[in-house]
Amino acid sequence: MTDTTNPTGNDATTDDVESVDSGEAEIVTPAEERLRLHEVWVSGTEERFPFSMSTDEGAQELLPRDQEPALAVQEGTLVDDDYQSTPVVDSGERQIINMGPQHPSTHGVLRLQMELEGETVRRVKPIIGYLHTGMEKTAEVLNYAQGSTNVTRMDYLAPFHNELAYSLAVEQLLGVDLPPRADAIRVLMTELNRVSSHLLWAATMGMDIGALSMMIYGWREREVCLDFFEKTTGLRMNHNYIRPGGVAADLPDGWEDDVTSLIAAVNGGVDEYEELLNENPIFLDRTLGVGVITPEECKQYGVTGPMARASGITWDLRKEMPYCGIDQYEFDVPTGIHGDVHDRYEVRIAEIRESLRIVEQVVETMPTGDYRVQDPKVTPPPRKRIDESMEALIHHFKLFTEGIRVPAGTAYQSVEGPRGEVGCYLVSKGGARPWRMHWRAPSFAAVQALPAMMTDSLVADVVATLASADPVLGDVDR
């Protein structure tokens, strides 16, 4: 150890390392031998292959500083990033700057590779994948009942919308019709989720462009929403509440009072935000005319949701392709004109109020009845029946060991999430597990459109533009 820290003793160091390597004979313990014979199962087949213990990661140690190779240039990037270039000053020359993946304004782990000319951004390339956890592959080994715990973690700020798109896609293939109360509960929870997601967006957006009080205010009102989620589902995030066949549990006693006080609290909070920001000269300077995206670019890049509506596209899946009977409630679709950061702010604040309008109507018109479909192929028997009936016990056991069997087919179902169209492309070959589950993530399209919004803007505007796009990297990378 002491030798390796000596910068002048390179020769001695390498000799020492070699001698240590050659001095240790390779000893294979019986346990390791057994592990080498272990087999792995290949998904989708019956084949088994021997498990290889070798990895290609190499030693997880830092090399001595003088042996450190130059930073590898990422292959195939559009931006020709030359890390070896000499520093340039503002003389028409260009340089490459990486923003992220650990930059505080990137809301996760997004890396923006920017080519700068002075303070002006000439080219941008978003680089993603730092949060990729293979959730679409994971979905193929989970059964349909377990699937909603998986998808709820994708867009972690809009878990109900993910669960809803997934559940509706499964229900398409199952062909079940939900009781009206289940639909109403789903509308209630997803609209409250839209409110909580937009509140978090308002908080972080304010913080990113320097209105630090917004950070505290937004989180304060969001906490009221999360308290209601916790009371209803047991969890503040990743609820696994909306499931194929209905919802996991009925609403708690006194939920009408909770929601009514929530509406008052959030409406009051939004009034405060508007008082703080609407005529704030710094806020207007940082948002007006910044990060513009045209309606044509939105359609080209698949940008949907509040961003497309801020550009003047009147398109809301709740109106055009309604789900869960959401078209029976009265609400407006706010749209902007300019497609800049400020219009996105206006649209999202208006959407909070419209969602609260829907929630008010749900409270007034909540139907009575069952909160899940009573289809024995989907729904387990009630808990008390299991104590009385052997058949109910067997039924329960079969549902939870084998899972729901879904007929073969292909389904695509999308819902209007807080960030745009959340779509689930589900392929079933029959059986208890999805064959393939592809997600149409709204943030993925938004990140793809960032260069269209950022090119030829200032570096400071990059932060405001990124904040207004509201990407959730868990949704982008899945």
């Binding site: 994948g129 398409q172 359609k299």
Partner: protein, 184 residues
């Protein structure tokens, strides 16, 4: 019809299309101009969703996308790839478009074999196909000739294989017991 309607057939699953469900006339004309295309109307009573699913040979892929864009399906929504593994043309690529003025959704899919998993790139028709084709290349291993930057997008550049293929091993963590011997 008599008043007694107990014989009215109730389909067990709601995925049969109603008799009057069909694409509007411009979509019909679009599909009719591609004789090799097969059409399926997917409709679901439970969620009041109807969309047109068209499957066509890979030779018509770009031409159909251009024609669809000219017809009004100008909003790019999604591009998904599926590995069907045991079926003969193994890979499916599905393009999802929306016509906002007619409120129609169109899902166009094509199949390519394992030997030649190649689908021409749509990046010249829809700029948004860029990231989605990179994702399909990264996870399923479908090549898109004509793509400006067909590199891995979610996985590291040096990753080996395409994980969403069905024959890609998901691996396993061997369990080591501290006492006794267990025959694995």
């Amino acid at each position: 019809m008599s008043d007694f309607d107990a014989t009215v057939f109730q389909p067990e699953h709601g995925d049969e299309a109603p008799a009057d469900a069909k694409p509007d006339s411009s979509t019909e004309a679009l599909i009719a101009s591609f004789p090799a295309a097969t059409v399926e109307i997917r409709s679901y009573a439970s969620s009041s969703v109807t969309y047109t699913a068209v499957s066509l040979p890979v030779g018509d892929w770009v031409a159909f996308a251009e024609a669809a864009k000219a017809t009004g399906f100008d909003t790019f929504i999604d591009l998904a790839a599926v590995d069907h593994y045991t079926e003969a043309p193994r890979f499916e690529v599905a393009l999802n478009l929306i016509d906002m003025s007619a409120k129609q959704r169109l899902i166009v899919s094509t199949r390519v074999p394992y030997d030649d998993p190649t689908v021409p790139s749509l990046t010249n028709v829809f700029a948004g196909a860029n990231f989605y084709e990179r994702e399909a290349y990264d996870l399923i291993g479908i090549a898109f000739p004509g793509h400006p930057d067909l590199t891995r997008i979610l996985l590291p550049d040096e990753w080996d294989g395409h994980p969403l293929r069905k024959d890609y091993s998901i691996g396993a963590i061997p369990v080591e017991f501290k006492a006794g011997s267990v025959d694995l």
